[in-house]
């Protein structure tokens, strides 16, 4: 099986599993408990917090563990909105191709009376710092733009956007779910005030995430209860999950350069190979691009059939983001970069990790053109 859907989720690494097992099997104490079994768990949590902080270039106190990227995104936006509200600032800037965890939270805030401005995305799938600068108003309380897009892989100029926000005194949040562990992050150098990431996108566990919030930014709870996470996120801590996340993030960050080099070489072969298919088009920024992301539109092709046949050929891939399957609407990301409806339906995302091989690439390059040709051959609208 060729797994080429690492943007949807990843296989856990042995490192991450091994980091979890002791906390599942023997060190099961509740970190809030006084006795050693509990205090050992509290110490483990603290060490995980330090590890994650080191990966982001922040302090451990600035780290809040959550149940995933979505929760972190939700909490970041709600917190920033509450801060803005108290100052009478209710304008939020984001982009048209954010993840639904951002877009739907913004919708909720809109219903509460916030004014949300989604910056248009250019055809190669990026947003510039200038666009952000132009959009900031005196009543802007938050700019939230993703670090890298989950579907088309384009990387946004986060440091510059951060600099613009810093200069204008506006909070800047970035959804770094696709970037963490794959792209360099340093919240200070990059002027990031808040950042979300999710454990299962870099060989860590599902159901774990992190919200970084710069010291001094008061978080609003979205889960109320016990005093865990400095009172900002209630619920008995998922100690095994947090240990797995920290171990996976550290491993990813320790090998970030070599992984990126390896993965982007495979990616570039795929891009070159799939570009040979007639009436195909690469989606997303060809240069500022996640190392593992390949995304094409094939005219005359419907995404689901393509995926199912690829599955038959032993290739796991996706079309649009995984969590929008079940919906009939074409990806909002592809529409945002200007693909027409019918073309947007025929997209293919392949997302690689450092465990993919040359054989995987060769297999994909053999199967995709064959299947595209077959589906076109049975299509009533495709006649060449």
């Amino acid at each position: 099986m060729v797994y080429a859907d690492n943007a949807a989720t990843t296989k856990m690494s042995r490192t991450a599993i091994d980091a979890m097992l002791p906390y599942m099997e023997t060190h099961y104490g509740n970190p809030s408990s006084l006795y050693r079994l509990g205090q050992e768990a509290a110490e483990a949590l603290q060490s995980a917090r330090e590890t994650v902080a080191a990966c982001l270039g922040c302090t451990p106190r600035e780290i809040t563990f959550t149940s995933g990227g979505s929760e972190a995104d939700n909490q970041a936006l709600i917190s920033a909105a509450r801060i803005g509200e108290r100052k009478g600032k209710k304008h939020i800037i984001s982009t048209a191709f954010e993840h639904h965890a951002i877009l739907h939270t913004l919708k909720k805030l809109e219903k509460e009376g916030f004014e949300v401005e989604l910056l248009p995305v250019d055809p190669i799938g990026t947003v510039t710092a200038q666009q952000v600068a132009d959009a900031i108003r005196p009543d802007t309380c938050l700019v939230t733009t993703m670090y890298a897009n989950n579907e088309i892989g384009s990387i946004l100029p986060i440091a510059e956007i951060g600099a613009v926000c810093r200069e204008k005194g506006v909070l800047f949040h970035t959804d770094a779910v696709q970037a963490a562990g794959h792209l360099h992050i340093n919240v200070n150098e990059q002027n990031i005030d808040m950042l979300s990431l999710s454990g299962h996108k870099f060989h860590g566990p599902k159901g774990t995430g992190v919200l970084y919030a710069r010291q001094g930014i008061p978080l609003t709870n979205i889960i109320e209860g016990g005093a865990q996470e400095r009172g900002k996120r209630a619920g008995t801590e998922n100690v095994p999950g947090i240990m797995g996340l920290a171990a996976a993030l550290k491993e990813a960050c320790d090998h970030i350069g070599e992984n990126a080099a390896k993965v982007s070489a495979l990616r570039d072969q795929l891009i070159a190979g799939l570009s040979q298919i007639p009436h195909s088009a690469l989606n997303g920024d060809p240069v500022h691009r996640l190392p593992g992301n390949v995304n094409f539109c094939f005219e005359g092709i419907e995404g689901e059939s393509l995926l199912l046949l690829l599955d038959q050929a032993g290739i796991c891939a996706s079309s649009g983001s995984a969590c929008t399957s079940g919906s009939l609407d074409p990806s909002h990301v592809l529409l945002a970069i200007g693909r027409p409806h019918e073309v947007a339906h025929g997209s293919l995302r392949l997302s690689l990790c450092e465990w993919n091989t040359q054989e995987d690439v060769d297999h994909i390059l053999k199967e995709v053109p064959r299947i595209v040709a077959y589906l076109r051959s049975i299509s009533p609208v495709w006649k060449d």
Partner: protein, 145 residues
């Protein structure tokens, strides 16, 4: 449950009667604007009986499987019998479809009706228009979904 039943997957990966009939007696093409899918049905008709049928589909797995199953259900049948085939029969024959994919089977039912209508029109055979979907309306989004 898996997304699709084994029968769906079988008809999807090995679609029956796929292709074109160049000298068809009736051709119907229907589409669902929302999902963008298009289905084209070719009929060869002799003595009120469907002698041959072929389809071409641009669409999802269940659209392809539904068209394939629909051709099997009408091949060799009388026009009357073919017109009586409902999307529900297609779904049942496929062993079920996910709820949000039921409209794909509607396309199959409609493409048969559209092809028969085309055959009637070509041969100036009178018919009850109310029994056929309004295909232009359909292009604007299937009314039966």
């Amino acid at each position: 449950m898996a997304l699709y039943t084994e029968t769906v997957m079988d008809h999807f990966t090995h679609p029956r009667n796929v292709g074109e009939i160049p000298d068809a007696d009736g051709v119907g093409e229907v589409g669902n604007a929302k999902c963008g899918d298009i289905m084209k049905m070719y009929l060869k008709i002799k003595d009120d009986r469907i002698e041959d049928v072929k389809f071409e589909t641009f669409g999802c797995g269940s659209a392809i499987a539904s068209s394939s199953m629909a051709t099997e259900l009408i091949k060799g049948k009388t026009i009357e019998e073919a017109l009586a085939v409902t999307n529900k029969q297609v779904v049942d024959a496929l062993g079920g479809l996910p709820a949000y994919k039921l409209h794909c089977s509607v396309l199959a039912e409609e493409s048969i009706k559209a092809a028969v209508k085309n055959y009637y029109d070509r041969n100036n055979i009178p018919y009850d228009h109310s029994k056929f979907p309004d295909c232009e309306h359909c292009e604007g989004g299937c009314p039966m979904v």
